[in-house]
């Protein structure tokens, strides 16, 4: 599997570390029900069969966290953007 790193170009996935679902947002710790919100954030996943937004860290490359769009049924990757310029979570 090759990930199109916006900085390094296309690289084999073994250069990256994977962290999973990139659509989650860290909850506000001060909000009511924060514990429930953190539980959902840390443990619950949509885990879709199909389009998936996910975090990959280019550990052996530019050290960017990338938000990669990949299909979990085919492994086809349709794009990757850096977290820092990605703006709001999709």
């Amino acid at each position: 599997m090759r990930i199109p790193c916006p900085y390094c170009g296309e690289r084999d996935a073994h250069e990256f570390a994977y962290l999973g679902d990139a659509t989650l947002t860290r909850p506000d710790p001060a909000a009511a029900e924060a514990e429930q919100a953190f539980h959902d954030y840390v443990y619950l996943r949509d885990n879709p069969a199909g389009a998936h937004e996910e975090w990959w860290y280019h550990a052996n490359g530019c050290r960017q966290w990338l938000r990669v769009a990949r299909d979990t049924r085919t492994h086809a990757i349709s794009g990757a953007v850096a977290a820092r310029v990605a703006g709001e979570p999709a």
């Binding site: 900085y7 390094c8 530019c62 960017q64």
Partner: protein
């Protein structure tokens, strides 16, 4: 200098020592020569948020090279600026003893500077077979028609993190973490033996 002619070019060399200088593998003219040096002065420049372009511009002007915020090596007479990540530049200099200080003065609040003079061992590889040798460890396209002089990459070679760039037609420079020098040299020797490999370990400043 040892000449190794046995089948296993690493036979008898302890794994926790840098293989000694010498000729390894196939006889005849060496297909690859490897020279290790301690590049005297290296610093890492990390642009603070929003300053990447400005930092690139300042570095370029200061060292008289064209620096862009991308994976390229801008090679000047005395200095080279290598992009290793967005807003991240490794600056190598032959002449600036207090490179970090110079850079701090140059870049002020726009960047964080760290000394890295001792973090790396520099491998200078020369010869036509260099791309074939590196291709035995890396999964990037090093075809000389694609990876041109001035192109740079930070990647993995045989489980070892490396920043490399092509210096000129047949010269390649690789930076490897100092702690991994022995293992990386072993990889080069084992993989380069079929081409004939000449290893010259620099000693400058070591120890």
């Amino acid at each position: 200098m040892a000449d190794h002619s046995s089948h296993d070019p690493l036979a008898g060399i302890p794994f926790d020592r840098v293989p000694p200088s010498g000729a390894y593998g196939a006889g005849g003219a060496a297909g690859v020569t490897v020279a290790t040096t301690d590049t005297p002065f290296i610093a890492l420049v990390v642009a603070r948020n929003g300053f990447a372009a400005s930092v690139a511009g300042r570095l370029g002007r200061a060292f008289g090279v064209e620096v862009a915020d991308q994976a390229r090596a801008a090679i000047g007479a005395a200095s080279t600026v290598v992009g290793t990540g967005p807003g991240r530049f490794l600056v190598l200099s032959k002449t600036e003893p207090d490179l970090a200080g110079t850079l701090r003065a140059l870049l002020g609040v726009e960047a964080a500077i760290t000394e890295q003079d001792d973090a790396y061992v520099t491998f200078d590889l020369a010869g036509d077979k260099v791309p074939d040798l590196i291709a035995k460890g890396a999964l990037i396209d090093l075809d000389p028609r694609v990876f041109l002089p001035g192109h740079a990459a930070t990647t993995v070679i045989a489980h070892i993190g490396v920043t490399l760039w092509r210096v000129h037609e047949s010269g390649w420079r690789l930076l490897v973490a100092r702690s991994l020098e022995a293992s990386f040299t072993r990889f080069l020797v084992a993989s380069g033996a079929e081409f004939g490999l000449r290893l010259e370990n620099g000693t400058a400043g070591r120890g």
